[in-house]
Symmetry: C2
Subunit: 526 residues, 2 copies
């Protein structure tokens, strides 16, 4: 059987490499039939050169061109919902409903359409006009973008359909997608639709390209290539940091979404008030999708008390009783048990679970661990190692001061939650902890689990290193997510007719928000 | 004689290091009397630990606190203008008037006051409110910032008074300044005023700190320290890339302004129309400040013709006849001659100058070189090496196609200029070249030399690598320059009374621009 083709420069072509891999059905633990190529360097470089030509061809194109593509692509995806859902279910074991079909796929097409709206309106370009000096600036496209998608969102973060892809295209850039090796067929279906939409909307041949896998060395070389402009990556810290080193050396911006354990502080008044409700909420959030979310609550910080003991017991019981989900793959199962082992070596005690198996296919028992606050403060790094999956670590502080020390010892995270009493009795403690927590997390939540990530202009799906590679940007939410793939372009004394429409005196649509002499307005320059 | 003290944790204290250096008066080439310490690692680390404590102390402080400091500091600087100008003149040989006293110092206090205004109004925080989801976000401070100033702007880019310093403070961060070793006394005077202002406005002890010099290894360790949050650096590419590697590895954002040769395209119609005016403008811009500007026009691209030959001859004559300025130091003189040597080795011919000396103190002859377009296109990297100072390289293309190839082969630059005929006769050629040039430069200019950098919200003093480290930010111009030293902070379902004032329903000042449900407004949330 020959390997599936790669999409290079507008053609589905046989890979020049003979090296192949297969995806595995996590529910059956058996290999899926199709062979996919591991692209060699010559193939990767041909994609880079073609993307560079595409970027040159698109210089000066209006946002409406990219919007047309994004809308056509979203429409195309909706014509093959069934095929996508079946492929993703076979490759990831994520449930068809309510997950893949009803939640993740609509979210994905919604993201593409939000990106289309951002491109069409130019809202992400942030036009800034200084009439006194004659200087005007806005964001413009950065150039060819590499997108590496993760294993856990085969649709919404897919390398050729997800948030980074949508953002890079909205900014007017060609994309080379590196599919995640765990769901190549899903990615291939997307790429087929993307290519059809690209042809239909008359984009350059190499506007969207797809390769499935590379060696680690070639992946690093790829993101550090002088013709590449930027990279979006979602995945493991280890692989991400290899890419970061190469991209950084080349001066190519790289936006990484890496590991995050998403601390949840549950203050005593909240436990006194609604212990059972919290136990149920937390269990639901932590075990949803078998815990395989970047915003999974992997660390719960509590203050020692009898009520806390009861809360821990209640959650432990719920974890023991809950069904065990299937994991995304053998690698996830292996990393999970290694992660649990690392936490116990660092001093944590297993309350329930810890072992492999128990579910259909690749799986591990729902796992809870516990450690005292003093141990945590003494080994904060080891006890913040991520065990990606259906587990969480309870940290029980002996007093309020130690709760504060724990907050100070946290690494950068995507999210941080605080549950407190509705009657205000936790407010002093809240005020003592949150100033530290605020500096450690991209998104701070009250009385809410972190697993939902709304697609909103105000969302920050980001945070300090090592959760991400840059704390000023978000991976979700227009327009900030789009600006990652732009460059700031200033026009100084440029003759009026040569300015891009966004910067001319007349507002091009009458609806574009522009900062003119420090005031945001939809009016023309007067 | 004992070494001058360093400013650590609010105290002017003797350095723990016995290693010292002296500045040199470039006009006399003689050492200035004061000894300054080369800080050892223990001293640097004590500053880092103190800065971290300051950052913790300031969590949640309103922007008005930082504005008060910045305004008091600007006022303080104006009480010692004379002292600053004399010190800077002795240490840099830059003229007192019209440069240091009348231009650079007022610009510096103006920048500090613009930063104060940005901090007071919170305009840089870009509050974004999504009423449908209850999600709100804004920029907040990032943490301790290291600022490395360059040699060529002892005031406006000074590590403890210049643009990066002002931006880092406006964002609410403590700063550890690493003064440039060529002007330690100037930096010391600033630091004395900064510290007085910090005391007067009740800032934490380690809000502003100053060291003068470190080893290269300690400098790298400094910016990569886990307690440091970000770095602003202006200086040589070589030293900057050493810092970048360390900061990148630690995941600490680093904003670098490195070398730039600032290409100027002069199209044939412009030469036909105003050759002499252009020759005079170019000569003035290139030799101003002995060419020691980051935006110095170091590359001029021309189309071969008799008129171009005449233009080149005219500029060559002007360069020969112009007075020779003093350079900032022996290192600049040495790098300059090495740079000229590298360009001639790569195929360029010297039209005038090339040798050291001829002026007062450290100096080199005003230098022009020339190379044909084909050679440039064949060795673009070698022929884009920066010879920082009073020199420029003319590249003469044989035809319009080659002009386009030259534009395509440019590296990232801060600026790119195009001069064209007023009557529109160059417009087709302009349109052929500028789409490529636009992607290579942060600021595009028409009919204007690049050396002036207005402090404007629309300014981009930035550009693609290797001109800077990140193409989405500018080093000059609020609020974008401030956002570099912020982190994006999202609030999800946060109880109303716990939101920062910028994100509460009521607009805190009635004047703060906020994006509410996609519309920029100064109104309250309705």
């Amino acid at each position: 059987m020959s390997a599936q083709p790669v999409l290079i420069n507008g053609e589905w072509q046989s890979s020049s490499s003979t090296n192949t891999f297969q995806a595995t059905n996590p529910s059956t633990t058996e290999a899926l039939p199709e062979l996919y190529p591991v692209s060699d360097w010559a193939e990767i470089e041909s994609a880079i050169v073609a993307a560079d030509a595409a970027a040159r061809e698109m210089r000066g194109w209006p946002g409406s061109r990219f919007a047309a593509f994004l809308d056509a692509y979203a429409d195309g995806i909706e014509t093959c919902t069934q095929e996508l859902v079946e492929a993703a279910n076979a490759e990831t074991a994520l449930p068809v409903s309510p997950r893949l079909q009803d939640v993740e796929l609509p979210r994905t097409t919604n993201q593409l359409r939000q990106a289309a709206a951002a491109a069409r309106s130019s809202s992400w370009t942030a036009p800034t006009i200084d009439t006194a000096t004659g200087i005007r600036s806005m964001f413009g496209p950065i150039g060819p973008v590499a997108v590496f998608g993760p294993n856990n969102f085969p649709f919404a973060f897919n390398s050729i359909a997800g948030g980074d892809f949508a953002a890079a295209v909205a900014a007017g850039n060609p994309v080379i997608a590196k599919g995640h090796s765990s769901h190549p067929r899903t990615t291939q279906i997307f790429a087929e639709e993307a290519q059809k939409a690209a042809v239909a909307t008359e984009m350059p041949a190499a506007f969207v390209q797809l390769i499935y896998r590379t060696s680690h060395a070639d992946g690093a070389r790829f993101v550090g290539h002088p013709l590449m402009a930027a990279t979006g990556y979602t995945g493991s810290r280890e692989a991400g940091l290899v890419l970061k080193e190469s991209a950084d050396k080349a001066g190519n911006p790289i936006y990484l979404e890496l590991s995050s354990i998403n601390p949840v502080f549950i203050l005593p008044g909240a436990i006194a008030e609604r212990s059972e409700e919290l136990a149920a909420d937390f269990t639901g959030s932590c075990l949803m999708g078998t815990g395989q979310f970047c915003t999974n609550p992997g660390l719960v910080v509590l203050l020692a008390s009898e009520a806390t003991d009861a809360f821990v017991q209640s959650v432990t019981a719920k974890f023991s009783e809950a069904g065990i989900g299937t994991m995304l793959g053998e690698g996830v199962q292996r990393s999970f048990t290694a992660g649990i082992q690392a936490l116990t070596s660092a001093g944590a005690t297993i309350l329930t679970g810890g072992e492999s198996g128990g579910g259909t296919g690749f799986s591990c028992a729902n796992t809870l661990l516990s450690v005292d606050g003093e141990s945590f403060v003494n080994s904060p790094e080891a006890l913040q190692a991520e065990a990606f999956g259906n587990s969480s670590l309870f940290v029980v502080a002996k007093d309020e001061a130690q709760l504060g020390q724990i907050a100070e010892s946290l690494e950068g995270n995507l999210t941080g939650c605080v549950y407190s009493a509705a009657d205000g009795s936790d407010d002093a403690l809240y005020d003592a902890i949150v100033p530290a927590l605020r500096t450690k997390v991209g998104r701070l939540l009250n009385d809410k689990m972190p697993t939902g990530v709304a697609v909103s202009a105000a969302m920050n799906h980001g945070g300090p290193f090592p959760a991400t590679g840059h704390p000023t940007f978000t991976a979700v939410g227009m327009p900030t997510a789009v600006c990652r793939f732009g460059m700031l372009q200033c026009y100084d004394n440029i003759r009026a007719h040569r300015l891009p429409p966004e910067l001319q005196d007349k507002n091009p649509t009458g609806e574009l928000w522009r900062s003119i002499d420090g005031q945001w307005t939809q009016a023309d320059v007067s």
